[in-house]
Symmetry: C2
Subunit: 259 residues, 2 copies
């Protein structure tokens, strides 16, 4: 399958530590060697780095690991291809614009049927079930809200219902963000952790790296990291239930929808 | 203003040499220090690197300079902000999807009026006249051709007419590509050069770097580079006329529309 990672924070935060762990699973400690990508929001802009090569030895991933790009919303994916060949156009995350905002999305799993999903205004470029489902979700959102709704939380609630329907068609673990809100949907496997003061030391599971977050944070920082499997081995990660949906904003849970 | 650069080639080619020259103009040999970006197509996928910081000393630009990403269609921009603050969302090139293809675009110049340009289905994320004009162009294309036309050259001819209308509103040097075709429109300043066998040595104008292309090519390679100002000082670049439009595919000129 694939692995997902996301971050939501109340202060621009770099993802170097978590990404160092995740990238190892792309061909070294995990089989997800069929490409990877990560998107960083900076206000309304988004900077995406993608590579159809394995993340563990990618030169572009070296840059991302070592260059502290600070962001309040990050979304990443490492791929083990099932539907759609190994190619840049099939590499997650995918981005499209809706209501004058960039939406970014990544999926882990496989849908049994997807070619019948209606997409209006958004056409997949690649051949994955994932991108088709993304185009479907945005197309449904645009149909329901032709203009940007003042109550964006309601729009994400609507999105979570559509996501639940996709979950009926197969495995559909998913992260989606508009740069402010980040919605996590668990179909089979997804974990998250919120770090806040007092910060302490975290140790990665996949590579011998640890960090003392108290040296890099202020007491007001709130940073949530979401990942398919916990990235650290000395902290408690929340395990999501199949069918559960959590919406994050500025690092905090703002909506939780039980299965 | 800004500077544009594009490449169209019949074989995947890296842009390292030309980019090394261009990036110097982003804060060292030129005043275009308000961000930069470059998009590389790989089949139907596109990989974009952007940075609101000056290109001449950007760490992301170091990667792009030294890592030979091979592509048949490349589009780059270095920015000197006029409309729209210095921010990632105002950094070119811009990308949107139409007909299941990613379209990438960059603009050099300034339009006297732009807020009245109708955009349907595409909404600007940032505040530049450039992105508004891009959304307008794609919106007009989608209106004229709701489905992908079998004759894409005709679609680019239509686009060139719309571009010419924008040129009436101010300075509108522009590059736009769907990954196969690359359209260059000259409003005030744009040059291009096609390199083919017998290849020889080229020397950059902005930094003491030269390259012997005969060591990196086969006799069948055709590579066109487009730039606001010639990037080399020992070759003859074609100077475009104001109002002139050239369409490239696989390195060759496939359509030339006089002013």
């Amino acid at each position: 399958m694939c692995e997902l990672m996301g971050m939501s924070a109340n202060v621009p935060t770099d993802i170097c530590f978590s990404f160092k762990g995740l990238r190892e699973r792309g061909g070294r400690t995990g089989p997800h060697k069929d490409g990877w990508g990560v998107a960083f929001y900076n206000n309304k802009g988004v900077n995406t780095f993608k590579d159809p090569n394995p993340s563990h030895n990618s030169q572009i991933a070296d840059l991302v690991s070592d260059y502290p790009m600070k962001s309040c919303a990050v979304l990443a994916h490492i791929r083990q291809a099932n539907r759609g060949r190994i190619a840049l156009e099939n590499t997650h995350p995918f981005t499209r614009e809706l209501w004058g905002r960039y939406w970014t999305y990544a999926h882990n799993g496989q849908l049994s049927t997807f070619k019948d999903l209606p997409c209006s205004g958004y056409t997949p470029v690649g051949t994955t079930d994932s991108e088709r489902a993304f185009c479907y979700l945005l197309s449904e959102l645009a149909k329901r809200y032709p203009n940007r709704p003042s109550n964006r939380k309601a729009a994400f609630r609507f999105l979570s219902k559509k996501t639940k329907q996709l979950h009926q068609r197969g495995v559909f673990n998913m992260l989606i963000t508009d740069g402010d809100y980040l919605l996590a949907f668990c179909s089979t496997k997804l974990h998250w952790i919120t770090r806040r003061a007092p910060f302490s030391v975290a140790r990665l599971s996949d590579i011998d790296v640890d960090i003392d977050f108290s040296e890099h944070t202020t007491i007001n920082d709130v940073v949530t990291v979401i990942a398919t499997e916990p990235l650290t081995n000395n902290e408690h990660w929340q395990k999501m239930q199949p069918g559960e949906c959590v919406l994050f904003k500025l690092g905090e849970v703002v909506l939780q929808i039980d299965p």
